[in-house]
């Protein structure tokens, strides 16, 4: 069982995730149409590029935009969730030991107590994100079971990881559950709303090009949202 999910399943989920992201990103940009979108992407590549980078950069910065500043609570839980959710899976010592064994490559690693802290932060923020969904009428009205499923898929690897980390009950069970839930997450990325992990950059780049070219960029106005 362990061999299967760390062997075939690992390669399958990683492969599907990476290939899926690549294909969908290519399709996204190929699907942009200057005449339908009404943005002359190709006529002003430099302005478009600058607009795209600016748009992505500003929104990656906590409180970097009016939107973030307007909603401080959401901004804090959003960044706590996403910082942990990106850093821990990539830079955890145990993940990199596993990766090295599999591929001979490994990434920079973070201290285990930092990883613990960030993981708790992810779980705590996820709970707050769910509570926010339930509490605020403007969020509740749009929320469907699918939104909760996405949150569940995203947070399950962190919960199971903590259970294994603190060896609550059967360590092997939690380890298997952790690896499986991680693989489900990888498989879900290209096919669900989780595609935002890469389409966020694509979509922001598009609007950044729109502003950088058509909506004032060529006039020298850099909108600081």
């Amino acid at each position: 069982m362990y061999e299967f999910i760390t062997g075939f399943m690992f390669w399958l989920s990683l492969g599907v995730c990476l290939a899926g992201m690549l294909i969908r990103t290519v399709l996204y940009f190929r699907g942009l149409a200057w005449n339908l979108d009404r943005v002359a992407y190709k006529a002003y590549p430099k302005d478009g590029f600058n607009g795209a980078m600016r748009s992505i950069y500003k929104w990656l910065l906590p409180f970097g935009t009016h939107g973030w500043r307007k909603q401080p609570f959401m901004t804090v839980i959003f960044f706590c969730f996403h910082i942990g959710a990106v850093i821990v899976p990539l830079f955890l010592v145990a993940h990199n030991l596993f990766l090295e064994k599999k591929t001979g490559l490994s990434l920079f690693t973070i201290n285990n107590s930092v990883a613990d802290f960030l993981t708790w932060l992810v779980v705590a923020s996820a709970i707050l994100i769910v509570l926010r969904r339930i509490a605020l009428p403007e969020v509740r009205i749009m929320t469907t079971w699918y939104d909760y499923l996405i949150i569940l898929i995203s947070v399950l690897p962190f919960i199971t990881g903590l259970m294994a980390r603190y060896e609550v009950g059967n360590y092997n069970f939690w380890l298997l559950a952790h690896i499986l839930s991680g693989e489900i997450l990888l498989l879900a990325i290209p096919f669900t709303k989780l595609s935002h992990v890469f389409l966020f950059f694509a979509s922001r780049a598009q609007l950044g090009m729109d502003y950088g070219i058509k909506r004032g960029g060529l006039k020298g106005t850099k909108m600081a949202w």
Binding site: N35, W59, G67, E138, I141, L199, S203, K214, W225
Partner: protein, 462 residues
């Protein structure tokens, strides 16, 4: 009954059809027929497949339903934070559903979508600035309007407006002769006070080709004379085209993309015929957006620009004041609390956030200008944009929408509102009528003329 006599999928193409449709007062029969109008689901789905590409599809897919756009929408705020006014909800429950159901929606759904597209969104594009994913719901509502128009589910006035452009290449029934004659007549009226005032018609290779809003010709002809006075005082070499003089596009509000193309091409043809150095449009927001910002794309211009450099009136005015072509008598500057309405269509959607403020620095006595909050590209819609002002059926919703601007203006303590945009000007006039807060509002032209130091050659002999 599938297709009505007035309410149907066919655009208005002739003067007779226009007259008939106008004869149906307030669209009484039109809206009655709309209740029976069939939805051509096949056409709807084919259109979506051909025109809804990765940008909008991705927007619909990755919307996280986070609700961060809620506070950005003035219609959400002013309607007691009704969750049904959250931009993401509005677009997901209309366009999102149509895409999800592959166009298989019924008449009732389409009428709900029509109300959402024209009475719950002014396409001000503010929400797009507040979405972490960069989802611009205003753009999607513009797209949805196109789908609804194609199916005949469009407010009566919008169908008429688009028809006007198709028949007259103007938003109102103003012919080319009427335009030129009205301009000439107004100039003659002012000739005694402003010596040498003329209106050069169809002059080739002029520095400026001036275009207007048909409403000025029909309802505010003094605006035409004011434009002539300022160009003359600034010593500009300018002209008006007898054909292709209409800057506006109600077709854009209606989602009639074919009419948008016809309209804007008439202006571009004038540019190509007269070869001016620049085109300057009147103080109108949506008109600038239609002809200068969106128009090039409707006309299939790959560089996204009109045939000649085209600027908004405030850009010319700021330049003329900066360069001293127009001189202001400092003693006549505005000395009362004054604020400025930033038009969504050229500030948020074309970056002109400092231009009107530069003009303010020349025409307002220091210490009297009060900015609105929020302002510049974050300013709220006047409450009447995107066609909202003109739709009788949705007048109660529009009047409610005006409250945001009313409260913004009251908070500044201003007695005068500068509104260099026809839609904003109308909305502010209507909010004063509706709520009586004791303000005045004005375009820039008459104010600048009132404080202008006339060049000697224009002064009448005593």
């Amino acid at each position: 009954m599938p297709e009505g006599i007035f309410c149907n999928k066919k655009p208005v193409e002739t003067e007779e059809e226009l007259t008939a449709l106008l004869g149906d007062t307030s669209g009484t029969q039109y809206y009655k027929e709309m209740k029976e109008l069939d939805v051509d689901s096949k056409l709807l789905w084919t259109t979506i497949q051909n025109t809804c590409k990765s940008r909008i599809r991705t927007w619909l897919e990755i919307c996280a339903h986070c609700g961060m756009c809620a506070d950005s929408c003035f219609l959400y705020l002013v309607n007691d934070r009704d969750p049904k006014q959250v931009p993401a909800y509005k677009i997901q429950s209309t366009l999102g559903e149509i895409v999800k159901r592959k166009g298989k929606v019924d008449n009732e759904f389409m009428r709900m979508a029509m109300e959402t597209a024209w009475a719950k969104c002014t396409c001000c594009n503010r929400c797009g600035m507040y979405c972490p994913h960069g989802i611009d719901m205003g753009i999607m509502f513009g797209y949805l309007r196109g789908l609804l128009y194609q199916q005949g589910f469009v407010p009566w006035e919008m169908k008429i407006g688009a028809g006007m452009h198709r028949v007259y290449r103007a938003q109102m029934d103003v012919s080319e002769e009427e335009f030129v004659e009205t301009f000439q007549w107004m100039v003659e009226e002012y000739e005694d006070d402003y010596v040498g005032l003329t209106v050069p018609v169809d002059v080739e290779n002029a520095d400026i080709m001036y275009t207007v809003n048909a409403r000025e010709v029909k309802h505010y002809p003094e605006d035409l004379a004011e434009a002539a006075i300022l160009f003359h005082a600034a010593g500009e070499n300018w002209t008006i085209p007898s054909k292709g003089w209409e800057l506006t596009s109600l077709a854009m509000f209606a989602g009639d993309w074919a009419a948008c193309k016809m309209q804007v091409e008439s202006v571009y043809e004038a540019m190509e015929r007269l070869k001016p150095k620049r085109m300057i449009g009147t103080e109108c927001g949506h008109a600038h957006r239609a002809t200068v910002v969106e128009g090039p794309y409707w006309a299939g211009r790959k560089d996204g620009r009109p045939p000649v450099e085209s600027i908004h009136y405030i850009e010319w005015l700021a330049e003329a004041l900066r360069e001293g072509k127009l001189k202001i008598d400092p003693s006549k500057r505005i000395k009362q609390p004054v604020t400025l309405q930033d038009s969504c269509n050229y500030v948020r959607n074309h970056g002109l956030r400092e231009t009107a403020r530069e003009i303010v620095s020349y025409i307002v006595e220091p210490g009297y200008f009060r900015d609105m909050s929020p302002r510049k590209e974050h300013n709220f819609c006047c409450g009447g944009g995107g066609g909202f002002n003109g739709i009788g059926l949705f007048r109660p919703q529009r009047n409610k929408g005006l409250i945001t601007k009313r409260d913004q203006i009251i908070a500044t303590g201003a007695e005068l509102v500068l509104a260099p945009c026809h839609n904003c000007w109308d909305a502010i006039r209507d909010l004063e009528e509706e709520y009586e807060i004791g303000i005045k509002w004005s375009f820039l032209k008459p104010l600048v003329i009132s404080m202008l130091e006339l060049p000697d050659h224009m002064k009448p002999e005593e």
